[in-house]
């Protein structure tokens, strides 16, 4: 079945980072919230470093669960979840959290921002929490880096405004900035365009992909809207990789 490859579709990319490790490698992963009703069972999933992946599937197909496993907030009951070679199931909870903070930029559907921090502080937060992300900034200071990224995302006018004063589109762009600062190797965007109107969606998507390419990050983009599929090198359907069928 399937017009999309389900396993081990390594799309070579000119933007791949130097090491050859796959970004994500899941093997025989089983996950269940309740013991007898497994939610997710993936025999193998391999995503190469630097790939732009479109992950789609109906709600309830396990997209969010898969993201939780990759991000290290959920722990697989069986099998191994390797992110940049690190087997998350062998890491302590704290080490998982640290790994996530250092290597993953996460963009939510909406409500991406801490309401009591300014735009500048929201963007800078990952670097303040994680030394590894702080080390990777290209500008000389954190403030300069924030300014550089804000400039890139056309946000420099609102750096010192409270986040509640921003439009939806601006808020989502701040979310990109926060996800991309300190060059995490993996960007996960969980339906980031669903709170935007049609004509904003395209602009947002283009910007996100550009920024990911510049940072040479792997991108996992989750959406149920197949219209955006064409922008991605690789398409993964949950229905096809998840052996558990609801």
């Amino acid at each position: 079945m399937g017009m999309f490859p389900t396993i081990s579709t390594a799309t070579p990319s000119s933007l791949t980072r130097s090491n050859n490790l796959p970004a994500i490698h899941l093997q025989n992963v089983l996950f269940a919230y309740e013991r007898k009703t497994p939610l997710l069972w993936i025999e193998e999933l391999l995503i190469d470093d630097g790939t732009r992946v479109f992950l789609h599937g109906p709600s309830g197909s396990g997209k969010t669960t898969l993201l939780g496993l990759i991000a290290g907030v959920l722990r697989a009951d069986k099998g191994s979840v390797k992110v940049f070679g690190k087997d998350l199931s062998r890491l302590s909870a704290t080490a998982q959290d640290r790994h996530r903070g250092a290597e993953i930029g996460y963009i939510f559907q909406s409500f991406n921002l801490i309401p009591y921090l300014s735009v500048r502080d929201n963007i800078a937060l990952p670097c303040q929490v994680h030394a590894r992300r702080m080390k990777r900034i290209t500008a000389s200071t954190l403030d300069a880096e924030v300014a550089r990224i804000a400039e890139r995302l056309d946000l420099n006018g609102c750096l010192h405004r409270p986040v509640t004063k921003l439009s939806r589109g601006q808020q989502q762009r701040v979310a990109i900035a926060r996800a991309v600062i300190g060059a995490p190797r993996l960007m996960i965007a969980d339906e980031p365009t669903s709170s935007l109107d049609r004509n904003r969606q395209e602009g947002f998507l283009r910007l996100l992909i550009e920024v990911c390419n510049e940072a040479r990050a792997t991108l996992i983009f989750v959406s149920h809207d197949d219209a955006m599929m064409s922008c991605f090198e690789r398409h993964i359907s949950m229905a096809e990789i998840n052996r558990v069928h609801s």
Partner: protein, 420 residues
């Protein structure tokens, strides 16, 4: 850690109203707790230092506490007077070093009038070894001379040379005024921070002269008044005093003399040792202190509960915030710390605010309280009891913070990055 602290502070600031109200309620309870304690200790030290170097206070037979209060602190009135002959008997007693007689009962615009003699200016001591001194003028010598305390001078804008009319009795608006016998201010006493400041001192002769034409406690009928100009010291005969202070030659003498006075056959008298009577006062006030502390403790519990409610109800709104923090890489333990920090910050700030307000109010109210109620308050440092209060508030605040923090911790685990 610094990031967390900053997040906690900013988060609290963003919920200004609830944070402010919670902080206020905790500050209020700390203010009460500390205030009660400070006033107690301040009053104790104030009272204790009002009179020093006096071994015995003697008055007519009666309670020891009332005697101490009316003779030294100008609170209440003497039930009876002592005959001057009894006073003379003990004044000339071989065990006695010096005595200070007081005759009380008149007032001037709410300030008490104390008739005494030169011994007061000579021997009266407060704050261990401070004596009474003058900022202007000299001690009263003539019959109608008066010296006024610093507070009296300041409040009524009197200066040396002012004429004052004394009233019979202690009411602010007295029915009987000694209008035909005005006194002249001849001296202004230096500030002492004791009840001396709010008293007017005249001579025993002056007190006698005011009442020379009175009969059985009523003023003279019109036409029977004796004008001030016709009164001479030689005509005056001092009949009684209200109380007197005694300094004995030795400690042993004090106890013997006290016994001798209490069993004096000529007249029923009471002699008290001021320090012991003060002790009596404190044990009486102890009950009030305990009751007030219990009430303040209850207020504190309410304040802390208010904080708990405020933090707990905010939890649901903050699930998304927690998800974002988790996404950025904070672990659930850090989320826990963040929430505990918030409650600790609130309780610490509340405690600090309450403490500062308590001392501020104490400083501000010190002089009015002394003037109006005659209760001297000393500024006292932070006692171990206050230190315990503050520690309890902050520790209780952080412990209570663990409840919403645990909830946030669990939410963080369950929601993961998924609290949309």
């Amino acid at each position: 850690m610094r990031v967390l602290l900053r997040l906690a502070v900013l988060s609290l600031k963003s919920r200004m109203v609830t944070t402010g109200l919670t902080l206020f309620s905790i500050a209020l309870s700390v203010l009460l707790l500390v205030g009660v304690d400070r006033i107690r200790q301040g009053a104790q030290e104030g009272f204790s230092s009002t009179l020093s170097q006096t071994d015995l206070i003697v008055g007519a037979r009666g309670g020891s506490l009332p005697l101490l209060l009316y003779s030294i602190f100008h609170i209440g009135t003497a039930s009876n007077n002592i005959s001057y002959s009894s006073y003379e008997h003990f004044r000339d007693h071989p065990a006695v070093l010096w005595t200070i007689p007081f005759s009380l009962g008149d007032s001037h615009r709410g300030f008490r009038v104390v008739a005494t003699d030169d011994n007061f200016y000579e021997h009266y001591r407060y704050h261990k070894d401070h004596g009474v001194t003058f900022t202007g003028g000299a001690r009263p010598e003539g019959i109608f001379d008066a010296a006024i305390g610093s507070e009296v001078a300041e409040r009524l804008h009197y200066h040396v040379g002012s004429k004052i009319i004394l009233s019979h009795g202690l009411e602010n608006i007295s029915l009987f005024k000694h209008a035909n016998k005005p006194f002249t201010v001849v001296g202004i006493l230096a500030h002492t921070a004791t009840p001396v400041d709010s008293a007017i001192y005249i001579t025993l002769y002056g007190d006698e002269a005011m009442h020379i034409d009175w009969k059985d406690g009523t003023p003279p009928a019109p036409g029977e008044e004796i004008p001030a100009s016709k009164i001479r010291k030689e005509d005056l005969h001092i009949e009684d005093v209200s109380a007197f202070l005694i300094r004995t030659r030795s400690r042993v003498d004090t106890l013997l003399l006290q016994r001798e006075i209490n069993t004096y056959r000529e007249e029923p008298l009471t002699a008290i040792i001021p320090a012991l009577t003060l002790q009596e006062l404190w044990s009486m006030l102890g009950y009030a202190d305990v009751a007030l502390s219990l009430v303040s403790g209850a207020v504190l519990v309410v304040g802390l509960l208010a904080m708990l409610i405020a933090l707990y109800t905010a939890l649901n709104e903050r699930r998304k915030e927690v998800a974002v923090l988790r996404a950025v890489g904070l672990h659930v333990r850090q989320i826990f710390i963040l929430f505990v920090m918030e409650s600790t910050l609130i309780s610490a700030a509340g405690a600090a605010l309450g403490l500062a307000t308590a001392y501020g109010l104490l400083w501000l109210l010190r002089s009015p309280v002394e003037v109006h109620y005659g209760i001297p308050l000393e500024m006292v440092g932070i006692s171990s009891r206050v230190f315990v209060y503050i520690t309890v508030v902050v520790v209780a605040g952080s412990l209570l913070g663990c409840i919403p923090a645990t909830r946030a911790y669990r939410n963080g685990l369950i929601d993961g990055l998924n609290a949309q």
